[in-house]
Subunit: 403 residues, 2 copies
């Protein structure tokens, strides 16, 4: 028994039948004697429908008014979920972002939560009510409605869990937890019982689309125990928590990311500050650069290769071509047929052999490595896209992750 | 130049094209140098769609959650209208009921406005913004969303106009104003340039469905000048205002109400308190009784006839039958084929001949009067429904209202 925050995404409440499935899940948790706060996203396609309505009227509508519009979506889903719980005979109340005290900064459409004033939620919990809170939305200091941007409802849930001192923040998804790798690639992939915040963050940025980074960062900061679990099957999921409470594993999981493209600037003058120039121009235009490789070329010149997300490739190439007077590359090459494969595990900090074992697996499989990048608990390689699934399988085998 | 509140109903903003028509209308008023506050209802069928969603989940959902759900409708329409005005290049901001300071009592689904705190609206008007406010909704002392019930957006508009000290509150409708009678019955019916609050109230309760009574009552209380005008044609409408500023007319208009049924209790004991007993039982069950007629019957007994709205007929009959042990009527008769025809005019207070002239018109047309009821500025008769249109024409002619 304790205080549990449960978050359900838009597809979990897409129609009346699913709303009742969620309601039953919530009521079960409540009936076990827990205080329950539920964070809910807008139903299925509501957000897309509202965006289409706006587009029909004004493709350049202000972000402020877009936030007013989109926040109506959760207001609808949260009241419907409350009505389903009323039907099941349990006391319930739904609260919008502002009613729940979700205070954000002033940035419309991608606001960040500054503080959750838990007073109203506590007041309702004291009355033994199940509390439904609209995810994805808050209020800024002007008393204007804001929305949190991608993955916003996960972040709402964690922020609320942190503010209330919840015992657990459950994120319900369409998978049963976090796996050692994508089970569609490796059928023997194993569901993890637990994972550290840092491992989860590395896996997420390496392409595992289970949790949004911001929510995990927030959970780490406030030490909120998260659980990733299925909205459909009632089985335990994966707990995301502090490192020292998690059983150590050399490798926790393997991620594959196809949303990546490689750009190579060939034969640049080897003068100091060259890399800084290139990457500061790209950063100004909001192009995120991931893996970077610099190699000495001929005649005191050098090559710089780096990866960007596939979406940013065209923008990045345009920026480079416009600025090549400054950059001075002899040739600009790009390649979209690449994938990034990463192994993640907190255990590798104290075990230098991980990278070597990974490279051995790739060598055995006859896969060529184009670029390498590492963090304390991650090794990533860039390889040909056609080899990506084979690489994931080979590495999964080599580290015996199916056991 | 002044401060103008404009209210547009759901059909006026039903799709993108209509939203732009409204936006242009608003911008025209703004460009003439006025401060403009726009009160808007939910788009076309939005409210019905949301009710259907709720019904699918819980036919007995709490009123609190219904209000949360329904208020999303105006949040959508107000932001879309704001986006259209942005597209037309004018500064604009949309505000929900709580943002606009519309404070109500605690009654969900039919809340009454207690006070409008105009601070935020004034603040936005000072910045020369067009201010869009969600109609039909407010906030109660628990910080919960409330809705105002039928005709709620008209009431929102008048309450906001009163709080801001607006020069005019324009209610846009699908007719060009208030007519001497329904032009579908009498093609020569004339649009009125002005009408007093009391005349408008009497006409509204006599069956003219132009403005909701509560909004007119509020306008009268706070002396807000209202204008009823067309959302489609740009022509002057009808001004509703204080009596002493309106040109006196003996008769302002004629209304016909088919939403009426007559019940007769035949041969009741003629003991004191009988009428009180009957009508207090009906009142307890929220059945509104309109015209009442009491006549002496045979042998010291009496008959009591009265009218109720068609919707309430069945309920009223059930109540009477259940309580006939107390009431003691020999027979209970009812008639649904009746209509109420009323003439309304502030001038009749000082002219006792109005009723006589009306009865003469009906006599000339060979129409039998079943019941009569009068107020200071209204005379109503109950007649056979098949005679109703003929009666309206005859009275319109007799009072020469086409001139």
């Amino acid at each position: 028994m304790g205080l549990i925050v449960q978050k359900f995404g838009g597809s979990s409440v897409a129609d009346a039948e699913r709303v009742f499935r969620v309601a039953n899940r919530v009521v079960d948790t409540y009936d076990e004697g827990n205080d329950v706060v539920v964070v809910v996203s807008a139903q299925g396609d509501t957000t897309d429908d509202l965006i289409a309505k706006a587009q029909e009227i004004n493709k350049n509508a202000s972000k402020r008014e877009m936030d007013v519009l989109l926040s109506a979506g959760e207001q609808i889903s949260m009241s419907l979920l409350a009505m389903a719980i009323e039907k099941l005979g349990r006391p319930v109340v739904s609260l919008t972002g502002w009613q729940a005290g979700v205070n954000t900064d002033i940035n419309y459409s991608k606001a960040r939560i500054k503080r959750v004033v838990g007073e109203r939620i506590h007041h309702e919990l004291d009355k033994k009510k199940i509390v439904i809170v609209a995810g994805f939305q808050g209020i800024n200091k002007f008393d204007d409605i804001t929305t949190l941007g991608r993955g916003g409802s996960d972040t709402s849930a964690v922020a609320i869990a942190a503010a209330l001192g919840a015992d657990l923040c459950q994120i319900f998804t369409d998978v049963t937890g976090v796996y050692t790798t994508d089970p569609r690639i490796v059928p023997e992939a194993r569901k993890l019982n637990e994972i550290t915040y840092d491992e989860m963050l590395e896996l997420a940025s390496a392409g595992a689309n289970v949790l949004h980074n911001r929510s995990v960062e927030l959970a780490k900061k406030f030490n909120v125990n998260m659980e990733v679990l299925s909205s459909f099957e009632k089985v335990p999921g994966t707990i995301v928590k502090e490192e020292n409470t998690v059983e150590k594993m050399l490798i926790r999981g393997i991620a594959r990311d196809n949303d990546v493209a490689r750009i190579a600037l060939v034969n640049i003058d080897d003068t100091p500050g060259k890399a800084f120039q290139i990457f500061s121009i790209l950063a100004k235009k909001k192009v995120n650069v991931d893996v970077i490789l610099q190699s000495i070329g001929r005649d005191g010149s050098k090559d710089i290769s780096f990866t960007v997300s596939s979406d940013d490739l065209e923008t990045a190439l345009n920026i480079i071509n416009e600025n090549n007077a400054i950059i001075g590359a002899e040739k600009v090459i790009h390649d979209e047929n690449v994938s990034k494969v990463s192994v993640v595990g907190a255990g590798m900090t104290s075990n230098p052999g991980v990278a070597a074992l990974m490279f051995e697996a790739l060598y055995d499989a006859g896969i060529n490595i184009q670029m390498i990048s590492t963090s304390e608990i991650r090794v990533s390689v860039l390889i040909d896209r056609k080899d990506a699934e084979k690489a994931v399988k080979a590495i999964h085998d080599k580290f015996e992750l199916n056991n």
